[in-house]
């Protein structure tokens, strides 16, 4: 079992977060946009379950730990939810 302080060290490492951000693009974008990921605010356990589901649905995640740290650091359930942006006018 990994000691909690080790996870904190991982999370604090900007290189890990950068790697996680790149992994988000690489593993999620083939099937869907990133906004649906980034508007959510979930606990670590719920993010783990979401990643499990996406793997079952065919996502190929190579850097899972870095992706998890990136998700928890930016989109954890302790963060306020963002207001969805307005699209441009598509009637023309």
């Amino acid at each position: 079992m990994i000691a909690p302080f080790l996870l904190l060290l991982l999370a604090a490492d900007p290189a890990v977060l950068e790697k996680g951000k790149a992994e988000e693009k690489r593993s999620c974008l083939p099937c869907h946009g990133l906004r649906i990921v980034q508007v959510q605010r979930l606990s670590r356990a719920t993010w783990e379950r979401e990643l499990d589901k996406m793997v079952r649905w065919g996502a190929v995640i190579k850097e899972r730990e870095a992706l998890m740290e990136y998700l928890v650091a930016n989109f954890g359930d302790d963060k306020p939810a963002p207001a969805p942006p307005l699209s441009g006018d598509g009637r023309k």
Partner: protein
Amino acid sequence: MTRRRWLTLAGAAPGLLVGQDKPPVFPGKRPMLVHNDFPEDLETPVEYFTTWLTPNDAFFVRQHLPRPRVTAESYKLEIGGIVSQPVTLTLADLRRLPQHTVPATLECAGNGRANYRPKLPGLQWTKGAIGNAEWRGPRVRDVLARAGVASGAAYIDCDGADVGVAKTPDFIRSIPLRKAQHDSTIVALEMNGAPLPELHGSPARLIVPGWDGASWVKWLTRMTVSAQPDGGFYMNPAYRMPKNPVAPGTAARPEDMVVLEGMAVKSFFVMPAAGAKMPAGAPVALSGVAWAGEERIVRVEVSTDGGSRWSDARLGREDFHFAWRLWNFDWKPARPGAHILCSRATDSAGRVQPIEPDWNPSGYLWNAVDRVGVVVEG
């Protein structure tokens, strides 16, 4: 993923691969609240709900899977399973059947999910994953009659032209025969008098009045008459609710999860907007919408003091089963200061909007008494 699929993705989502700084634009839509660029998940801003019919260019969009391209010329609807004779119908065949107009409200099961605590995965809809339109097309009953429903039939498994990406399951919904054969259940070819827009399932989608949006299968291409509901993800475990409420943050046993069908009783304010300022002593028109799934709205009450005292609102003249009702209430605020306005609907089955609905593991059916804070200036 094939090269062609990649090209399709890139083509469907210009700008997606080069960053998200510029707001995306969706063909035929006014500015909408973007929950996802691709596939498109777009919420209607509440201030657009000023008319009984929600215009097509303002109607919310929820896609599970990438939008397929189906042309009127290539469109085919296959009907098979427990039938006398499987048939394949074209759009012209569907147009030749008697056409019926059904005004009906469409709401995503997860509308309001953003309000549940603990927070849940899924689209973080607030109020606007709902809209009301006039849908027109042949009855499902008449369509099925072309193949002849045989004995032993209990469900219609409905599949659209959209397909899962990678190993994402295909989107298939099973509608019990009794609901599929209801007078108001139709295959819509038109929405508010126009051909069904591409974002809304052109050229043909299912209309299942009063039921969750997931049942209203878009780009409908196959109806398989069967004895059992489809066993795929979108019938189980998705779109199910615990038979009895569970403690927030906990799971129910799989055998206690039941398929979501009719929607809840609900109302909300359209005017005024949250945070609006208004002068004391001058009349203010409060207005909103209310609907009740398969039931009818019989009453909407408004409170201007945070829910202490309630008065009846006036219901709008458009009164159709399955369609929402407009309501309005005249208020003359006497005292300056902050006020909490509340709306609460009651339906023909006696259901009343709760102060807070039961938390459930997928965050469906949010229908709390609506609360809007405003400031009266002295």
